[in-house]
Structure formats: C-alpha cells, structure tokens
Subunit: 337 residues, 4 copies
C-alpha cells in the first residue's frame, strides 16, 4: 500500500503515519519526493489498513497495490477452473450453452423448450421458478411447482438445471431440484445469500450486478469461494450506462480481462446484456469470439406470450440459427461447444 | 400505452396488434401517420401488456404512458407523508437528522457518539450492527450485541435507532431493537427482504441502489407499501457514474424530482454520496437547500480508528459545524430542523 | 409525436395543445384514456415541434415517433454503403483493416510500420499528425511534416492514409495528403468541423464521442451527409462508464444495432475501446464476430518508446497474430478481410 | 510516480524499469514488498513518463502521484481567482448571476429579457448567437446579427455579455462584441478553440464536457491558462449518466471538490444540469449552498415559443422567485449575490 502525503505535510504527520503503519503490522518505508512524501506500507494485510490510513491527517490518498480478492485470483491458482455438471462443461476450452425460458410457465412450455434447446445443442436448461421482478405487480414465478417441472424436464432430457435462488431460506428447496444455483444481478452483493449458496455445495452461476466493478464482482465470488465451494461461474450480463438503445451495455472486454485476472470461467448472457431479441444472436457469437466459456440465452416457444422478458427471448428457430453461427466461430478458434 | 409500428408494417401486423390489445382487456385506437401507424392501447393495466405487445411482429417500440408504480405516486396520494418515530420527524417541512457511526464498535463508542450527536441536534442515531461489506475479509458487524448497544444508547438519549437489516430471517431480531429498519443500497431489489421489512410495521429507510433508476427505486418502495406499511423514507445516497474524484455521484436533483413524483419523504446521505469527509458538510447543506426531508450522516469519535468507512466520517467537531450551517440554510428557507 | 397530458389536465390546456400542433403545420388527433389524454401530432416535421410542445401547460411529456436523423437512416436508403479508397474497402461484407501508430513520430517509424501492417494484411494506414491531447504538456504531433511522411508511406505501400483533422482551417492541408479524414471522439459534435470535412469530398471516419448516444452519433453523421458527402464510416471506440479496468467500455452491440438503423459502415477501434494492449486482439476478433465492417488498430514498432498511447499499441508481432485470428473468424462467417 | 511490478516480475524486468526511469530524468527508488516489487520514480516530470513506463515488460500498473495540471492547481496558487467584468463578479465570496435566453431570437426578445434579468439581480446576460445543435435540422443561431443585438442589450443595461464561440475562426468576431467567451460542453476538448479563446484575453466560461473527469476538465482549463489568460471560470453543467428523469445529472459535489483543488471560480448551470424548468430553481439554490461562485440560468419571456431549449427555461416570473430564494441562502451563508 502506498500512502501519498499532501504537499506540505508536516514531519509530525508523516511520523504519525509511519507509526500507524507499524501498529497495523506492516513495515513502513519512506520516500521523499520532489513535491511530496510517500510512505509505502509493506506486508500482506489486504483489508482495513487502507481506510485506517487514508483518514490520517496530511494524507492525500492511499493506493492499494494488491488485489483485494485472493482465492479468485490467478495469483493464487494458475490453472483454469472448469465447472462440470451432467453434460454441461464450462471453461477450459469448453463452451457450455445454457438456454431456456425466462420463467417456467407451464409443464408443456418447459418440456417443449427443454427438448428443443437440447436438440439444438444446449447442455444446460435455464428457467426461473423464483423470479425477482422490478415491479411487485409482475408475475413472480411458479415457485416450487416450477422447480418440479424443471426436474421433470431434466429427467426427460438430461440437461443440467440452472435456476435462480433469491433468499437464503430458499436455498435448501432450490438445491433439492437444481444442478446449478444462479445468483441474480440484483443479489450480487446479498452476502447472506452468497454464503448460503456457497454452503449448498452446488455449482454457482454468479451474475454481475449492473453497477459492479470487476473488483466488487470478484469479491462477491470470494464470498462463495470462502465457504469452500470452488465451483463458481462468473456471468457478465451487461452494465448500466447512459446508453438507451439497449437495455444494458454488454462489455465483452470483461471476458479477456477476467481470463487474465481469475481462474474462474466466464459465462455471457447476451439476452439481458442487450435486452433485444434482434441483437442476441450476433452478440452470442461475439461473446464466443471474445473467449466466453459459456452462454446463457433466453429462448421461448412463443416470445409474444411469455410471462416475462419476451422481448429479449429468441424463438426456437432463431436459437437454432444462433447455435450454427456460434459453432462456426468456436470451430474457427479451436473451442469445443 | 402507445404501440409504434415500424414503417412499412403490414395491415395484417397492425390487425394482429389490435387483436392482442383487446385480448389484454384494453381498448385500441389506431392512428395512421405520415410514415408510420401507431396503435394506442387504453385502459388501466400497468404490467405485462407492454412486453406482450413489444414482441409483436412489425412493432418498433411500445411507449408506456402511465407510471409503473401506484401507491408511491402523487397521483394516488397528494398530501406529503411524514414519518415520525420518537423525536425523529422526517418530511412535510421537518428535516430529520440521523447521525452516528458506520458500525457499532463498542459500548463506549456508541454511547459517546449518541450523546454527542444528540447534543448537536440529531434526533436519530445510525449505527450498523449487521454490515454488508464488499470484501468477505472486512469487519462484518457486532450483530445482536451491536443491537443491544444501540438500544442502550436509545435508553440514554431518546434518539430513534436506525439500523440496517440484511436478510429476511434477521427482521424479527432487528425489529426487536430498532425504531427504523434500513434497507441498504445493495439490497434495494432484494424483494423477499422488502416484503419482510414491510411486514414488520416499522418505518423503513430505503436506500437507492447505485444503478437504480427512479422508477426502479419507487417500485422497490412499492414492494414495501404493498404490505400495508406506508412509513417509507426514500434515501438518495449517490449513484455510480464515471466520476472518480468522489466515491459515488450525489445527484441532488433527485430530491425535487421525487417531491413532484411521490408523497414519500426524501433523505440524503452525503457521507456515502461523496465518500470523502471533506465534502460531507457542504453537500449536507446543499441537500437541505434542495429540499431534503432528512439527512443521514456518518460521525465517528476518531475516524482514523473506525472499523469501517472512516474516510467518510465526520469528527464530532465537524458534525457540530455542519449542523450550524444546515440550520442557517433551513431557517432561510423556512424549514424546521 | 405523441403529447402526453398530465392527469387532470384541463380542457383549456388540451385545446391549447391542439392549437399549437396545428400552428406547427401538423395534424392533431386526440385520444382520451382512462387517466390521461394524449394528443398525437401527425406529419413529417422532425425538429422544433417536440420542444415547442413540451413546454405547454399541462403537458407531461412528448414522445417522438420518428428517428431524428434522415439521410443516415435505413428508412431512407436500404442498400448498405461501402466506402472504397485505394485498396481499403469498408462495408457490405468487406472488413477493412486500418492499422498504424497513434502518432507519426519519424520517417523511419512510419515507413517501417506501414510496410509491416501492409504485409500483415492491412489496407489502410492510421497515424496522427495533428494530435488532440488531454494535457497541453503532451506531444501534440508533427503537424504538416507528419502528413508528408504519411504520403511517403502511401507512395511506398499503396495503403490508404487515415488521419485526424482537428480544426476547420486545417481541412484543406490535411485533405491534400490524406485519403480518409478522421474526426476524433472529442470533436464528434464540433459542427463547423463536421461541415468542413464533409465539404472536402473525402471519405470520413467519424468516431463516436465517449458520452454520445447513438442518436447523437447519427445526427453528427447527418451533418456530414447534409454536405452531400455520403462516404461516412461510423467508428465505435468505446464509451465512458463507471468501469475502471479498461480505459473505456467497448459496447459491441453498437455494431448490430447500427446495422439495423443505418446503411453506413461501422468500424471498431479496439485500441481506444480497451486502452490495454493485452485486450486488443481478443476484442478485435469479437468485433468481427459482431459484424464490424472494419477495424482501426494501433501498432507501434516499440510501444514502450511511443510518444503517445504506447500502452494500448500492439507490437508488430502481436498484430500479425491478431490478423490471423481475425481472418479465421471472418472466414467462418463468410466475410472478406 | 509509482511503478507496480507484477508478482513474479524478474530481476531483469525490474532493472529495465530502473534504467527507463533514469533515462526519463527521474530518480528511482526500489521497494521490495511481500508479493511484489515497486519502483518509485521521483522528480517533477508530469507527462509522458507514465505511459513510457506502463508499457514495460513485467509492469502491472503505474500510479501517478502528482496532479497532471499545474497552473490551475491550488498547489501553485493559493489565493482564489475572482473574475470581474463590468458588474459581473464571480468568485471569492461573490456569486455572479448570468441569465438570459438559450438563443438570441430577435431584438425585442433580447432587450426585454435583458432588462428583466437585470431588474431581478443578474449582472451577466447569456444568449447564444452561434448555437451548436445536435441536429443539423435545428435552428443554428442568428450569428453576427445576434452578437449585435447582445451588444445593444449591453448598452441598454450594462450587463456583461456571455456568449458561446464554436470555432477558432469566429473568435475575433465574437470577441469584438462579447465580455466573456463561453466554450460549450461539446467543445471542452476542442484544443485549437481553447487556445484561440485564451489568446483573445477575454474572460472564459469553460463548460465541463458531459463525460469529462475533473482532471480532464482542469487540463482543458490548463490549455487556456497556458496562453497567459488567467480569467477562467469553470462551469459544471451536468454529466451523462444512466439517469433518465433529468437530461443530465448535476453533480454538485464538483463545487466543493474544485474549491479544494483549484483556485478558479466555479459556476453552476442548473438549466442544462437538469433539463427541466421545474427543477431549475431548486437546484440553483442548492448550488449556492454548495458554494457555487456563480450561476448561469436560461430565462425566456415565453418558453413555449423559444427556438431552442424552451423546456428548461424559466419564465421571468419564475426567475424572480428563484433569485429571492437564492438570496436567502446566500445571505444565510454570508455570500454576496
């Protein structure tokens, strides 16, 4: 950590910082520059020290040197993590495709779409049973009945079930049916939930919050990893920016950046990431070109009648075409899909 | 709702939309423009119809006319809501001041600071017992012990206790000690939590998520209001933007805009809204000039030794000066503080 | 245009709006809804009317129906525009590659890099002679001497020269040397400059401003198109968001969205779009998968010694590898590169 | 400057950085930490060195210690700059009020409004003669005729004329009529224009670009200051964020932050900063509470008939009320207005 003193900081202020650094169990090292003095604080402590120091009198700013996360970091684990569950393989040169409706709406709907996405090449089935909805007046999901239907779809197709859990107290119930627990973007910093899903032992699909920095995203993953659960997939699903022609802005550079920073696999959600069915397939193949380890895509047999998010769902036909394009790009880059 | 068809939409597509509008229980009204046709859908339905229509073939976009929230709206209730609990009055020309440390750290700390902020003019005491922290390696709060200390501080000072609750299962415990339940910015769209705090019957301080639009913020309030709990304070605490000289960007125009849109009182948090102690007092008085119904401010007896967020905490001395300035501005504008 | 009246707007206010609509040369059409009245204003007028109406008493908002740009729109011209100059072809299934240093620094540098990028497959040479720099203390470019060196590099290689012009009064000089005039992101709304480059008759590479919406971007293009110059390439180079792990956020969904909206070709700049050399090649191939009609990439023989933006420049070796990957993706999608 | 090496950087890489630091005329100082090595580069060089170092092999990042601007900095000049021209005083405890229409539209309009704003307490008159408009189909201003009318309004009232200049070649003409040259937000980084207005010797009102960081804003001011012109007013007029209920987001913390960082006065534009007439007066008084040294406000005799931006203009009556409120706040804080 580097403590930058204000120009004109007094010797007393500098001495105070040195003393504080040492009280925190770090070694201090003073550098006297042309206009300012800088105190380096050396050691492994990652938390608390920064803020303890930046409130010191005469301090202009404190610059951390170490990344704030540990277990997610490539500094700690070099080999890439692959998440495998049933036929779904995500990471380490395998691109896993998770597809399905926004919400489970009926037995017919989910069985039909499950068979369809399987035939088109998906190995995971998405479908919400518990739906976090911006408006309390919107459809909130079929709840446990929806989970039962997902399990039935799995029995029929062998697809791995990926579904969202919204509260710690629902984890045991959802975990009884699902193969992968999804933590939604709105809950990325719901820490009791992160701990509860971590302790389930199931693989986790963690969605990036729309205003989360990459550090915050990895620290959220760290909450899960700390429970001893290392099966975490990071999901980029778009950030909130000033752009209004898409629902969110999908920053694909997240993919190569995370590949340099963490060993965890990165899944891209082009459905939420654009919020427009007409852009989904193109962004899906761009995500694969960017190195995504997986895709999660909304598909609905009749988007116009979907109970949620129909505007961003692909028709089965459009999904099949998307898969063909994605396979071409993956093949060109030597990736399995 | 206005359905705008694409230029060149066919009569069959237009007829289909008219049929869909009527299936949804709305009346349709067609307007043939120079380049496009527009179908107005008339009626009270606020949810689901928009998305059911915007996936229709030949549709370019659907423009909602009604606000998506109801109970929070000034269209439904004209008179301004005032939240009152112990000596704390927020709204309707009363500016309520809530102050205290980021976290409860010890008996001495909280008792000292409570007495201090009371003497300086606060009527509410903030202090976190359950702390949502970005990093799992950070101090997570004293939990129930912290709540006990808050209650002791209340007994000593009469201040209303405002403290955060992070999970639905903690609501009964926190509600047993607190006067106001705070829902943090990270949990603004944690819907099970919103319902649980609503059902507690206590007044709620709902913080705006850093990427939430005003509509999303009011819809989150609507989740609480729907439980029958009308004691909701909206808290602007800064949004995430590209600016990096402050921790968040504090958009004070939220205050007059919300005053035009909702009857709920609006509290401003200049501590999180700037993330810099040196900017807090100035933004506190600017918030009052913008018409804020309350302030929530971090104060710590020794910010340098705070276990969380010391960099944005005022010293007791700085808080007293802030109060003096705020009183001047309030008096100039005929507000009680 | 749809004028939405406030709930409770008086008949007098509604009549006033109807009168205003007709004064503006538009036809009015009134729709009485459940809670509000809406006045549709029909006709072709795109400008001024919106704002003339939205200030009317009792008006809540005015919703435009037509896009604000015309000549850039696919509604006006369906067939895709291809820009061709020397060997550079951009658009309509041709991916044009423009590469070179941020700044022209010396005769050796530009001749060496020109030959190199040509050998690797580029058909355009970028290189700044006039450099807009955030700091007045930074290198500002070699000016006319730089243009001469670019012309010499063209003579040696046949590459089309793409270079920035910063002020209307420089247009004749830069146009005397360049094949394509670049308008930088900082100047996207420098209207005298847009008109001056349009009148040069040369093809234009127009960079998106980092805070510009797509409508603003297309309206900037419209300033050029209005001069009668239809050779406009739109360049996505990243937008400013809260993300701090990249210099800008590169929103690749711009590419398919623009392809639906305008007939103009879309070039992507992964160098500025990420600001990190280690992310450029991956985002270049993702851009091609997203359908980009061209790429503009910074390459420097020795990035460490570059006088500007070395941190985002590829080495010649890395550029050659990038081209190989891009060719694979383009081939997979049936595009020429 | 602090060069942070990657974990595991080799001694050769470290030695190379030390060598580069010294070639750049800086002194190096090596600190070996627990996980990483850090090289401090000491000396006054502000530009170029950062980027020269951050491309070095084995370098993770380079952290600048000095602010990139000099002449704007409080480190260089402690006493606050006051800009004075005719009766307009901005800075150093004087709040200068500049008001008037978005565009000069006619002799009657500008003379009427000038007299009006003067009577209400303004000492500066704004009014655009050259109008940068997003759409080429919008009214572009009366040009020189507009300048003549502004001069006539000055003759009648004594108000200082503040008007925008859009291109270097217009500077002499505009400077012949105006008292203050305004550089608009779209031109904040139009460097030839910044130099040209600087050389005019007139006071400059420099608007912040909607995506500009504070460092970029101050570096733009530095372009003007470098010409020897020290009469620069910084104008906060709102930034572009995801918020859609206001036209821009007005971040008032800019005011106290700039007061800590620079000696230049800070003017706030609540008209563009909100884009809604109904929010302007409240944000004007909040700006004064935040310490603004001036306000620039749009006022139009009949906003509904304004040729530009009527939706954000105050009526004369509303402006007079705004002034009354602003005076109360200023008086409470001991400021002259």
């Amino acid at each position: 950590m580097i403590v930058v003193m204000k120009p004109g900081a007094s010797q007393r202020q500098i001495d105070h910082i040195i003393e504080r650094v040492e009280q925190l169990g770090l070694r201090s090292h003073v550098i006297v520059g042309t206009e300012r003095t800088v105190v380096a604080a050396l050691g492994e402590k990652r938390d608390g020290a920064k803020q303890a120091l930046e409130t010191g009198e005469g301090v202009e700013k404190v610059v951390p040197i170490l990344a704030p996360y540990k277990m997610a970091s490539t500094e700690v684990k070099q080999e890439r993590t692959q998440v495998t569950v049933r036929g779904l393989k995500v990471g380490d040169n395998h691109v896993g495709i998770i597809a399905g409706p926004c919400s489970v709406e009926s037995r017919e709907q989910i069985l039909e779409i499950a068979q369809f996405v399987k035939d088109a090449g998906a190995t995971g089935l998405r479908g919400g049973a518990f739906k976090p909805r911006t408006s309390p007046y919107s459809f909130q999901g079929m709840k446990e009945k929806g989970l039962e239907l997902l399990a039935e779809a799995r029995a029929a197709t062998g697809l791995a079930i990926v579904t969202e859990v919204m509260a710690p107290e629902h984890v045991p119930m959802v975990a009884a049916y699902a193969d992968v627990l999804q933590v939604g973007a709105r809950n990325m910093q719901n820490y009791p939930l992160l701990e509860a899903v971590g302790e389930s032992g199931l693989p986790i699909l963690l969605k990036r919050g729309p205003a989360a920095t990459i550090d915050e995203f990895l620290l959220a993953a760290e909450y899960v990893l700390k429970t001893g659960n290392s099966q975490v997939m990071l999901c980029e699903r778009g950030i909130r920016t000033f752009e209004d022609h898409t629902r969110f802005t999908l920053p694909l550079a997240t993919v190569p950046y995370l590949h340099q920073t963490t060993h965890l696999p990165v899944v891209v959600d082009p459905s939420h990431g654009t919020g427009k069915a007409s852009l989904v397939a193109t962004m899906a193949r761009a995500a694969i070109a960017a190195g995504a380890d997986g895709l999660i895509v909304e598909v609905h047999p009749d988007p116009e009648k979907a109970l949620s998010d129909g505007f961003q769902a692909l028709t089965p036909h459009a999904f099949r075409e998307m898969m063909q394009e994605c396979r071409k790009v993956a093949a060109a880059l030597g990736l399995e899909i």
